[in-house]
Assembly symmetry: C2
């Protein structure tokens, strides 16, 4: 089968590519062709015996989605987006890439469907940013869409388009509402949510990290490994069971920052915890106050999506996948 | 003040125009200019002393929204849409008019806002079609968006855009989720929902009407007078009280078809009821099975939106407004 990954150069895209190479296929079917695209050219994956095409393409540019669809990939992972902060700062760019880019892709598929009945599986990465405060805890699956950012609005709109295009038979879509991915590998970044990862990742390698919010802040997390697992399961799941409502809130770990820190203490000791420096930041506190504390995720769990059960597990996944299994 | 009504030639648009003429203003402020547009040229309203501009304009055509916004109306009622059946039959037309047309309008306002701080009140007519079965009864205000038609999807997307554009300060928007308007005046039409009105309106004037569904079908209704009342209240309400979630499910009357018929019997007697002919229609039954049985509408009620309390009242409103007050 032919798999297309749009947004393949990002952290989740690279891990997804590696997982497909390691598995050699998706579900029961071997993958013989991978097309990997992003605004920067994705790396050629090591150890893959099939055909690989990599290219630097902005799918929101006119005609680009049509070119990708002309090759009739069987499964499309659409991970490309600009992040929340950038979509908030640059209104036009956010709507152009996160909304119009996705709609162009869906429409290219629709037109191909009209030509020859083409109907790919489309796995779209949505976000918990489709909801915003005030929020219940846990948030039920039937809670309404209440984004408080343009990014969240764009994701919510794409979810609605995906369900409508699926209902009409143009494509077979599923939208995966990813929890905040934690522990993000790499260096600390400027994302407002970065500290959730920083306060664990940096102390685990003996570095200091800054905590800008109080310890009672509760948020919703899953490991990068789980995020990739959601996408793979979404690509292989029988969507008849999902019905008309194609957006699913994924399972995850709901934890306060204090609980994260206690998990770090259990795994890496007091020495690691002492590397967390409190530096309250009003702006980050205000942003985080609008974020989701956790979801019931009853539907996704019933459909076989799984995540970690607690933060100790999330930390252990990081040690296994990023630190070679040892501290 | 200057009021723009887009979709002014439709049933609700004409009644809204008449209401503004009768009231002479919106809330405390007199209306001195009305711009009335639709794809067919709206009639010039009788008895209005101010300036009136009427024109046949498709606001989804490039440049048309900008021209309307160049006149800087203080309040914009956006009622223009193609109906559910047509949006389902013609995918491109539905998305072009119901989604892109609305987005062009909002973007024309956004650009004007960037030029001189222009920030009109925008009252957008949404629909109970933003939800679809399986549904609880009554449907709570925080129930998620689950449209089962492209029309409902387009309305849900416009609601999300309206909230985001309002949050960012480009406009001051409110989306009014109208119940099924009953009793629709005029002749029977081919709309799948037409029978809800037909089985009352026709017997009230001694004509036969066809009932295509069983009497236990429950649905959600408000009179044309209430629909106009919602729009006027939405145009004058203090939106600070509404907060970030700008789409409101309106109050209405939840009734089974059997309850509608009993109300007809109380108001117009057995003779009227005998004019209803049962002619079960599988296709209409299947469509109606996905529709909303009724909403809690707690937020809208708390914000002062009001509708009829029962079907006797809905029938009496029709007799007063359409039949000169007598049977």
């Amino acid at each position: 089968m032919h798999v297309l990954i749009i947004g393949a150069a990002g952290m989740v895209g690279r891990k997804l590519t590696a997982r497909l190479v390691a598995d050699g296929g998706l579900g029961e079917r071997p993958v013989d062709t991978m097309t990997l695209v992003d605004v920067v050219k994705p790396e050629h994956p090591a150890g893959f015996g099939g055909k690989v095409v990599t290219s630097d393409v902005d799918v929101s540019s006119p005609g680009e989605a049509e070119k990708l669809i002309a090759t009739r990939p069987d499964v499309i992972f659409h991970l490309a987006a600009i992040v929340s902060g950038e979509a908030e700062l640059d209104f036009d760019k956010g709507y152009r890439i996160n909304l119009d880019g996705t709609r162009h892709l869906f429409d290219a598929i629709r037109i191909a469907h009209g030509q020859d009945g083409y109907k790919p599986r489309v796995v779209f990465t949505s976000s918990i940013a489709v909801v915003g405060a005030p929020l219940p805890y846990p948030i039920p699956d039937d809670f309404h869409l209440t984004p408080l950012t343009s990014y969240g609005t764009q994701k919510a709109i794409c979810e609605l388009l995906l369900s409508d295009y699926s209902r009409r038979g143009f494509l077979d879509g599923i939208a995966i509402r990813l929890p905040t991915v934690c522990i993000r590998p790499g260096k600390p970044n400027k994302a407002a949510s970065g500290f959730f990862s920083n306060i664990l990742r940096e102390p685990l390698i003996g570095e200091e990290a800054v905590l800008p919010v109080p310890e009672d802040v509760r948020h919703w997390h899953a490991s990068p490994r789980s995020a990739v697992g959601f996408l793979v399961h979404g690509a292989t799941l029988d969507l008849e069971k999902v019905g008309a409502r194609r957006a699913l809130s994924m399972p995850g770990v709901s934890a306060t920052v204090g609980e994260q820190i206690e998990a770090l203490r259990r795994v890496a000791g007091d020495k690691a915890v002492r590397l967390i420096r409190r530096e309250p930041n009003e702006m980050i506190m205000n942003m985080v106050a609008g974020w989701a504390p956790g979801f019931e995720a009853t539907r996704a769990t019933g459909l076989g999506f799984t995540a970690e059960k607690n933060f100790d597990e999330i930390i252990r996944v990081h040690i296994e996948d990023e630190l070679g299994g040892k501290l």
